[in-house]
């Protein structure tokens, strides 16, 4: 789409970035194991003091990382055929499907609201408080309500789960769409007016292209939110095949096999990461490097 890529990160920059990721992961792993080692040698206190460590370091509270890794490749249940990794990935895929549907629905609703608000101050003033309030209601309160409603309407259970995902996903998209559509300079808007452009032309040629850099960070937030929404939503929906149920199951057998719970946390995080990665990839294809918003910058600006 864009022929100019003169400011693409150079290969050496990408390699440096890769290295920093590896270094951080290594540091975290070393920290985890070092903390365990300290706790085990001092008997659960800070070295040279009697102050207790905040988290117990026995293998139940903090299994060794290699135990977590190994558990992924062992059968999940005694006598079962499938290894834990396969079971978790299958559950992850099941959850991801509802999350995807919720993501698409939520982002469409969010984008639509952004369009509506930029066109109508009245709609913005009337609806925005509810949009903001919607996010202060905890998802564990909303989820059962949506499941009950879905049941009344005879909808498949995954539809309710997707609705919960959408509920979490639409918000960042609505806010950033509105902000992006309002981002063009006053002179750019006056320019369109001087061409006697229709409101739709101004939207298509100026506002939406200008909004794209604001939209992608919101889509990344929406991607993780939709996965969390789906995991949480599976519990009241009583869906047994997704990550929500799997995590709950491993949590209840925590005392006998803690590493399985940790393994399912790792896989859940991976599912979210893959989703965000796909959005980031699309961003790279659509926006040239000069137009991408640096996430650290975006967080700093109001």
């Amino acid at each position: 789409m864009h022929k100019i890529c003169g400011m693409n990160p150079t290969p050496s920059r990408q390699i440096r970035r890769l290295w920093s990721i590896v270094a951080i992961l290594t540091l975290l792993a070393v920290g985890w194991e070092a903390y365990k080692w300290i706790g085990e040698t001092t008997g659960g206190v800070w070295p040279g003091t009697t102050t207790r460590l905040p988290i117990r370091t026995n293998s139940r509270s903090m299994p060794h990382l290699w135990d977590i890794a190994v558990s992924l490749f062992r059968p999940a249940r005694r006598g079962g055929e499938d290894i834990l990794l396969v079971i978790l990935l299958r559950a992850g895929w099941f959850t991801l499907r509802s999350a995807l549907v919720g993501f698409v629905a939520g982002c469409s609703i969010g984008f639509g609201l952004g369009l509506l608000f930029v066109r109508s101050r009245l709609a913005e003033r009337g609806l925005m408080p509810y949009v903001v309030a919607s996010q202060t209601v905890p998802v564990i309160a909303i989820a059962p309500i949506l499941v009950v409603w879905g049941g009344r309407l005879d909808l498949p259970k995954w539809v309710s789960v997707a609705a919960i995902s959408a509920y979490l996903a639409f918000f960042p998209v609505a806010i950033n769409t509105l902000r992006g559509l309002r981002s063009p300079a006053a002179t750019a808007t006056e320019l369109m007016r001087s061409y006697a452009a229709s409101p739709n032309q101004t939207l298509l040629k100026l506002q939406i292209p200008a909004a794209l850099p604001f939209l992608f960070p919101a889509l990344k937030v929406a991607a993780t939110a939709s996965v969390i929404g789906a995991i949480v939503g599976e519990l009241p929906a009583g869906l047994a095949d997704g990550l929500g149920r799997a995590i709950l199951g491993f949590a209840s057998s925590f005392s006998s096999a803690p590493e399985k719970l940790f393994a399912s946390v790792v896989v859940s995080a991976l599912v979210g990461l893959v989703f965000v990665g796909v959005v980031a990839l699309v961003e790279r294809l659509v926006l040239p490097p000069t137009r991408r918003i640096d996430p650290t910058e975006a967080a700093a600006s109001p």
Binding site: R193, S194, A197, K205
Partner: protein, 257 residues
């Protein structure tokens, strides 16, 4: 021949009745003939941009009559009678140079063939042939401003409204752009209204200089610039050029009192 612009007893008050009411323009009377090059000069805040926006129907006056090409300003705008250039080039960063120039043609529904042809012709006019596929961030400030001028002229408007278009450029680039603008003006029979606060710029470019006073903005003088056409590099060395600088400077000083 219909006048290019007629301003009749025009006043502009922002936020009328509010605490932050600003009386920006008062009793503006001015008639501009087709083909003129008019500069508006005055201290900053005296309402030059406001007057330009009124002519372009980007805002509406609180009082008086604004006509462009014999019609009310809003009809002239919907007839696309004028092109606009601001101090910042305001190029769309996601569009190539050529696509920026053809933006107004796209909005006016011209065919793709016509757009390409006209866009290249305009880039040639502002001496940017070969930069069609560049992006705005790859151009210098002066080049960006030339793209903005090409874009404003792409649909051949009869009137060009320019709000301190060279205000952000360095002196050398600025003088080169002034000469180029005069060449374009001569080649296209466009009427130009040019806002500036540089006295030499106003005198060098214009057929008439309109001197404005601050708060509320009024026209205090309209000075004929009787330098020979076409203006060249030598124009700035002429005795008459210096005399006119003094005339405008003294008029501005009187206006400020």
């Amino acid at each position: 021949m219909t006048d290019a612009v007629v301003l009749n007893d025009v006043s502009m008050v922002f936020n009328q009745g509010g605490d932050n009411q600003v009386h920006a323009l008062s009793e503006i009377d001015l008639t501009i003939e087709p083909g003129e090059f008019i500069s508006l000069i005055g201290p900053s805040g005296c309402g030059k941009s406001t007057l330009l926006r009124l002519i372009g129907d980007l805002i509406s006056s609180t009082d008086g009559r604004v006509e462009v090409n014999g019609k009310p300003a809003h009809l002239a705008r919907t007839d696309r009678d004028y092109g606009m250039v601001f101090q910042s080039a305001t190029l769309l960063e996601w569009r190539s140079v050529l696509a920026n120039v053809t933006l107004p043609l796209e909005i006016m529904g011209r065919s793709s063939v016509e757009r390409q042809e006209r866009g290249r012709e305009m880039l040639d006019l502002v001496q940017l042939s070969g930069f069609e596929d560049h992006y705005p961030w790859q151009l210098s400030g002066g080049m960006q401003q030339r793209v903005a001028i090409a874009r404003a002229l792409a649909f051949a408007p009869s009137l060009l409204l320019m709000d301190e278009p060279f205000g952000a450029l360095d002196e050398m680039t600025r003088e080169r752009m002034q000469t180029e603008l005069l060449n374009i003006w001569e080649a296209t029979d466009t009427t130009v209204i040019f806002v500036t606060h540089s006295i030499p710029e106003a005198v060098f470019l214009s057929t008439r200089v309109v001197v404005m006073s601050p708060r509320p903005g009024r026209i205090v003088d309209v000075i004929d610039i009787d330098l020979a056409q076409p203006r060249t590099l030598d124009t700035r060395e002429e005795q008459r050029f210096y005399e006119l600088l003094t005339v405008v400077r003294e008029s501005l000083r009187r206006a400020d009192r």
